[in-house]
């Protein structure tokens, strides 16, 4: 009993407790009031908002869900009245394509850029001719150093 209170009270403090006979409806209702924006206090969803309009829209959402409406039917109902802005999860349309695609496009551009940068770094010309390199190798052999450079003072 005590545990039940701990869980239920924070939710009941703001949003009316609604009882659904069907747990699937309850889940849809809870999902919808989190996905729909309160248009008065524009940075809150219906679940978080105490505005009068949010209360009315929660009531509407509950009625629609109890009538057996699907998620997309609830979304259509709200969008036809309040516009796309009511959705926190915008639909994929011509207008929102840029929004949805930009993370993918930006990632691809970034990957392309990194790959190009790395290819360039490895293939970058050193500015020394083949003769210069030959002479350098000869000098290294002369001094007994085979090219494995070691920090001064280390054993080896």
């Amino acid at each position: 009993m005590a545990a039940w209170f701990c869980v239920a009270l924070p939710a009941a403090a703001k949003v009316e407790v609604v009882g659904f006979a069907d747990p699937a409806m309850e889940a849809l209702y809870q999902q919808m009031i989190r996905e729909l924006r309160c248009l008065v206090c524009q940075n809150q969803n219906l679940a978080d908002s105490n505005a009068d309009l949010a209360k009315d829209l929660r009531r509407k959402t509950r009625e629609l869900v109890e009538d057996g409406k699907s998620r997309s039917e609830v979304v259509d109902y709200m969008v036809s009245r309040y516009g796309e802005f009511v959705l926190y999860r915008p639909r994929f349309t011509a207008a929102t394509a840029f929004l949805w695609m930009s993370p993918l496009v930006l990632s691809l551009i970034l990957i392309w850029w990194v790959l190009r940068w790395r290819r360039r770094a490895t293939a970058a010309p050193t500015g020394y001719s083949e003769d210069d390199l030959k002479r350098a190798r000869a000098l290294l052999e002369e001094s007994g150093d085979n090219g494995d450079r070691q920090p001064p003072g280390s054993a080896g």
Binding site: V40, D52, R81
Partner: protein, 175 residues
């Protein structure tokens, strides 16, 4: 030289977006109802609970639907403008989420510019009209289509420069 082009282009793009953002008013939402038929409803009249009103009653006329409430401060602000507009055009009030007694007192005290007010006590009709802030004013044409929506109090400038020209145009147009 080439290495500066990309960052500069990115900066210019971002600056252009932010510059545009300065002019956008995020509180003003475009109505989805423009050029759509005004949603039908049947409500009791505020001053005559036995009689009903629906948008169909106004067919053939250009009219305004003004959403108001006695608890709405901005409605007081626009009240004189609505009153002078009512000499030019029929205005129907949609009394939104109000108490009948409060609303009637409000009209008695400040004057009643409305042809009639429909009483939307629980705000259901408001939801159908996408009302998210009171006051809101819809211009509806002869065929019952919504042609313009004003959100917030109508100022004298709004009335003279926006609403009246729209109304005039709708009256002249062969709809």
């Amino acid at each position: 030289m080439n290495r500066y082009v990309l960052p500069l282009a990115m900066f210019a793009g971002l600056a252009a977006l932010l510059w545009k953002g300065l002019d956008l008013d995020s509180q003003k939402l475009p109505s989805t109802l423009i050029d759509k038929p005004a949603p039908a409803f049947t409500l009791d009249r505020l001053n005559d609970p036995g009689a009903e009103f629906g948008p169909g009653d106004m067919a053939g006329r250009v009219w305004l639907l003004n959403v108001w409430a006695s608890w709405c401060v901005a409605c007081r602000q626009e009240h004189p403008v609505i009153t002078s507009l009512s000499k030019e055009i029929d205005i129907v009030g949609l009394n939104y989420k109000d108490k009948r007694g409060d609303a009637q007192n409000w009209l008695a005290r400040w004057g009643d510019p409305y042809l009639l007010s429909a009483f939307d006590g629980n705000g259901d009709v408001g939801i159908d009209y996408g009302v998210y802030g009171v006051p809101e004013t819809f211009v509806i044409d002869r065929t019952g289509h919504i042609r313009y929506k004003h959100v917030g109090p109508v100022s004298e400038t709004d009335a003279m420069e926006i609403l009246l020209p729209v109304i005039r145009q709708l009256r002249e147009g062969v709809n």
